[in-house]
Amino acid sequence: MSDNATRQEALPGAAENHAGDHKPYAAYLLGLADDAMVYAQRLSEWMTNAPQIEEDMALGNIALDLLGQARALYPYVGSIDGTGRGEDDYAMQRDEREWRNVHLVEQERGDFADEMARLLWFSARQVELHTALAGSADDVLAGVAGKALKEVRYHLDHASLWVVRLGDGTDESHRRMQAALERVLPYLAELFDDDEASVLAAGLGVGVLPSSLHDAVVARAGRVVDEATLTLPNDSPWRSRGGRDGVHSRPMGYLLAEMQHIARSHPGATW
């Protein structure tokens, strides 16, 4: 057990992490990592619940990609925020107020149309975001983004194929897909909010202003929606806000309770 405790203290890379340079844009990177992490968690819920076996695999694959992106970023965040934390410290040990993801990704799993609407918008944002970040002044982030770009292009492609099929499929699927586009709408504006951390990171040439991605993302999603014979809704009486400040919607607490339960029930344990 003492051996176990020792190993736990020495999280992978922790020693080196402490020696890393303190950089002011850790919060920005944490937002990127948390978006990917929380969406991976939600997407993985589809496994065994998808409309066909191929889709169990595809959504699991997308979840794995996003999980991989989060895992690439967390230890780096730990190396530049002065805490030396590892990936599981971020994923398993933080409370709701410390999470910086947008509300879009934390929403409960809806029907398949809801998921394809969310995946379409999220992936369109990720494609534009990672395209920009591949040229980041931070080499680590540029590397992560360059690899992620290949993955999120596939995610966007997958969502697009389904949105078109559902929109231009049967009357029922058209109605469901249109309703899903309307339900996801209130969560989109938050994707393009220029929060404090983004402004700082963009100013350093490390990050990109979310608002600067807006037009390109809407254009990408819009083309798919047109082809699907659907209509892009643009009028919502309310919009989500606050995710980047750790102010989340109701489902977030439950998501964390489930995800963190085992890890937190065994303090100091190695898995």
Partner: protein, 407 residues
């Protein structure tokens, strides 16, 4: 509690795990058959499931020697099956007649004429196998959202994905026999076809993910490696790929338990509890007794004559016990069988009586999770119906548009 068994080491490997002899020329192993010992009272061919052949890096290698086979897919029998030459022109002049092909131990391919009973037997077996992969996604899928670390979460997602992929290979293999996936899924959903009863047991703790990988996947591989030489080509080829991936899963399961057994007291208790609950159901996975007086009846005899089945249930079960006992000792878990002990005379481990009443009860539908597994599967299928209909409708529209533009 288990009677401590001295693990005798020969050349760095425990005897009883790695004994092998050449058999029917299917082995590429370099062992001298005469020197192999101890001799078996079980089908000697089973001893062939032994020699080390895989050294590739995989999960689990950091806790156990990668040169030591942990499961039957890491043996030369697997290699020999995987290297089987499927080319029709290699059949050595036996012609295309079913009985001649079977007699020559050649593979039957989809276009070959075959007895209707042979086809039906294969459809039933392949479909049941495919259903087991799909239903088998649920017990472990149950832990994806709660995996205790991100590394474990990633491994588990990939594993459940593999199971979906195995289901797809197998449904495709069944489709070569003239029955489509939709029909097979209907048979699963309305109870006309079964899946492995093992998946009717619950996954109560994280350690169950380890026990399933180690024991359930280990038993599945033991059953499936001989199927890599199945007389029906598409099934045999699917098994070659499936076994390779299952071998990763089995190592991952071993590693989960290994880590738990070296963790806190609570973690050790969790691992032991999982081994207690999964050991007997894993042994039952090989099916009811079919040697000695039980030889007649059941499917074993005919399936063996057709080259679908290669070894008796009891022989594979014995081989599995022989392989797992030393692994349990390495892990530090106690297998829940007071009668488990090495029998020098037989050259095998003796073990206690399986509760066949429980086996038949679960098989009849009265297991802890039978209703839940099928309800989950049916719900996903029914909730997805409108999506599949949309995809079909879109495909039909596209086909019509293509036709129109070509006209």
């Amino acid at each position: 509690m288990v009677v401590p068994v001295p693990v005798r080491m020969v050349g760095g490997v425990p005897v009883g795990v790695l004994v092998f002899v050449c058999h029917h020329g299917i082995l590429s192993g370099d062992g001298d058959p005469a020197a192999a010992s101890p001799r078996s009272t079980v089908d000697p061919a089973l001893d062939a499931l032994g020699p080390i052949s895989h050294t590739g890096l995989m999960y689990g290698n950091d806790v156990i020697d990668p040169n030591e086979p942990l499961n039957a897919a890491e043996t030369a029998v697997y290699d020999a099956a995987a290297a089987h030459d499927d080319q029709r022109d290699s059949r050595g002049g036996v012609g295309d007649e079913f009985d001649a092909l079977i007699a020559a131990d050649q593979r039957i391919e989809p276009r070959d004429a075959m007895p209707e009973k042979y086809r039906e037997t294969l459809v039933r077996q392949i479909a049941q196998h495919a259903h087991s992969e799909i239903i088998g996604m649920q017990p472990e899928g149950n832990w994806i959202s709660r995996a205790p670390s991100l590394r474990r979460k990633a491994i588990l997602i990939a594993k459940v994905q593999d199971e979906a992929g195995h289901g797809l290979y197998l449904y495709s293999a069944a489709e070569t026999l003239g029955v489509d996936r939709q029909e097979l899924l209907d048979r699963l959903h309305d109870g006309r076809q079964k899946y492995s009863s093992i998946f009717n047991y619950p996954t109560l703790t994280w350690a169950d993910c380890g026990a399933i990988g180690w024991l359930v996947d280990g038993a599945a591989i033991m059953n499936q490696v001989p199927l890599c030489r199945c007389s029906y080509g598409p099934y045999a080829r699917a098994m070659i790929r499936v076994c390779k991936e299952e071998s990763f899963h089995q190592r991952q399961g071993f590693e989960i338990l290994w880590t738990l057994m070296r963790g806190t007291e609570a973690q050790q208790a969790m691992a032991q509890d999982a081994a207690d609950r999964w050991w007997w159901p894993a042994l039952a996975m090989f099916g009811p007794p079919d040697t000695g007086e039980a030889t007649k009846g059941g499917h074993t005899e005919q399936s063996m004559a057709w080259g679908i089945k290669r070894f008796a249930n009891d022989d594979l079960r014995q081989r599995f016990v022989d392989m797992m006992v030393p692994q349990a000792e390495k892990l530090g878990v106690v297998l829940p069988d007071p009668e488990l002990r090495w029998n020098d005379e037989r050259g095998h481990y003796d073990f206690g009586e399986i509760d066949w009443d429980e086996f038949w009860q679960v098989l009849r539908g009265d297991g802890p999770c039978n209703a839940e597994r099928i309800a989950h599967r049916r719900r996903a299928h029914e909730e997805g119906a409108w999506v599949r209909e949309a995809a079909n409708a879109y495909a039909a529209k596209q086909a019509a548009r293509t036709k129109e533009s070509a006209a």
